[in-house]
Symmetry: C2
């Protein structure tokens, strides 16, 4: 069975028009599919309105108890349920989930090292039976980036990581998985100012070279780690790029090879 | 097939200890079951923190656009996902839903009459197929009081009404449904100061009599309307009372007869 695992980030969530266009394209995408969404600026904005300042280290949110409350509300409630309602309006039988629902994604609170990430969850398992039961019943799971530790604690987990882990878990059960990370660029670019500099195929040796040259830096590094992780675990194809290009029948962006 | 439909309100949601005790009892309840929860004070508190004043008329919340955002976050996110995570810790394979998820509960925006209730949803349908698919897959649905209009609009619907509609829909499909509305009293009381004045059996003639006498008033009227509605629609048994009494094998409270 083929499954498309599509991850969208803040650039789509934060922009009403782009989000509407994306959802239309997603609804039209054939076959079994799963949507994983980030939270965008809404979580930070809501936190600020509640007097909670966002605390970021290396592009990752530090999840203190107040922040966990905000992301549970925003990711699990506001964003997730509005995406589900919008998809339902497009005839797409979506069902919103966090990792706690159906025990879908278990995690442990990230051990405190140099940085204390607070209630950040490192994934320990994916319950593929639940995912299969939902896919077989023709539901389209819409997954918020929240996990749980099976002891009653919700945890905040990066949405790229959730997409990667779901894709890997389905691949391990014999599914042909197409994983597509949508973000705000056409893919990995050699020169951000040159739209023709798209890297259409990325492999580990090119990655190491480009990282050494400083072409790949900051947020792209964990993104590509996730992508290679998926490829190495048997995910059939992995793409990064703009949603409108990646949701075409023939995705156009950066294909991440092993 | 037997299904218990259990509704809890603010008195349980707002009290950490009571909530923990309830969830333990709910997890131990045998057979298929569905939990419907209200939002409690958290929605009003969160609204106040965000500078939105709760606007209540006749005990019902007026749902303007800002309030809808708050209840979507609090009911659909914060409360729902924490209940799910807590139940998972008790080995209860819960799955959180709103009416938008799987197109479970459709509604229309309440027509504007004397009062404009804003984004309040009057239920138009329950998708029993979805509910059956989830129950058959041994999930325990945990339902937040939100519905949708199938055109992308989430709506705020009273949790008692949601419980009633889900119970009626399952009864119409041949399920033996036990509906239990948990609230902060042992049931309908002839005298609130006398714990021995519990009405153990309520029927429509007693209801009319007690309403005339002013014994039944305010919030109890819509609660009892919901209960009679369920009984008349073939729900096998309907109880109102304290959670700890209603979740016993032999529920103790007010049994609502037709």
């Amino acid at each position: 069975m083929n499954v498309s695992v599509i991850k969208i980030g803040g650039n789509i969530i934060d922009n009403e028009q782009e989000c509407a266009a994306f959802l239309k394209q997603f609804a039209e995408l054939k076959g079994a599919k799963i949507l994983i969404h980030g939270g965008g600026k809404i979580a930070s904005e809501m936190g600020t309105r509640l007097g909670i300042q966002p605390n970021m280290v290396n592009g990752r949110r530090i999840t203190d108890a107040d922040t966990l409350e905000v992301v549970t509300m925003v990711y699990g409630g506001l964003v997730n349920k509005n995406l589900v309602a919008s998809l339902q309006a497009l005839g797409c039988n979506s069902l919103g989930l966090t990792g706690a629902d159906g025990n879908l994604i278990t995690a442990i609170k990230r051990p405190v090292g140099e940085i204390d990430y607070g209630f950040a969850g490192d994934v320990t398992g994916v319950n593929t039976e639940v995912l299969e039961a939902l896919l077989n019943a023709n539901f389209i799971p819409v997954v918020a980036p929240l996990t749980h530790n099976q002891q009653g604690q919700l945890l905040n987990t990066n949405a790229d990581t959730i997409a990667t882990e779901l894709a890997k878990a389905l691949a391990s059960k014999g599914y042909e998985v197409s994983l597509r990370y949508c973000f705000d660029k056409p893919g990995v670019m050699l020169d951000l100012s040159d739209p023709n500099s798209l890297v259409t195929e990325m492999n580990t040796s090119l990655y190491e070279q480009l990282k050494k040259q400083g072409v790949i830096a900051a947020g792209m590094i964990p993104k590509l780690h996730n992508a290679f992780d998926a490829t190495n675990a048997g995910v059939t194809n992995v793409y990064m790029g703009l949603a409108e290009n990646l949701l075409q029948e023939k995705p156009y962006g950066t294909a991440v090879l092993s």
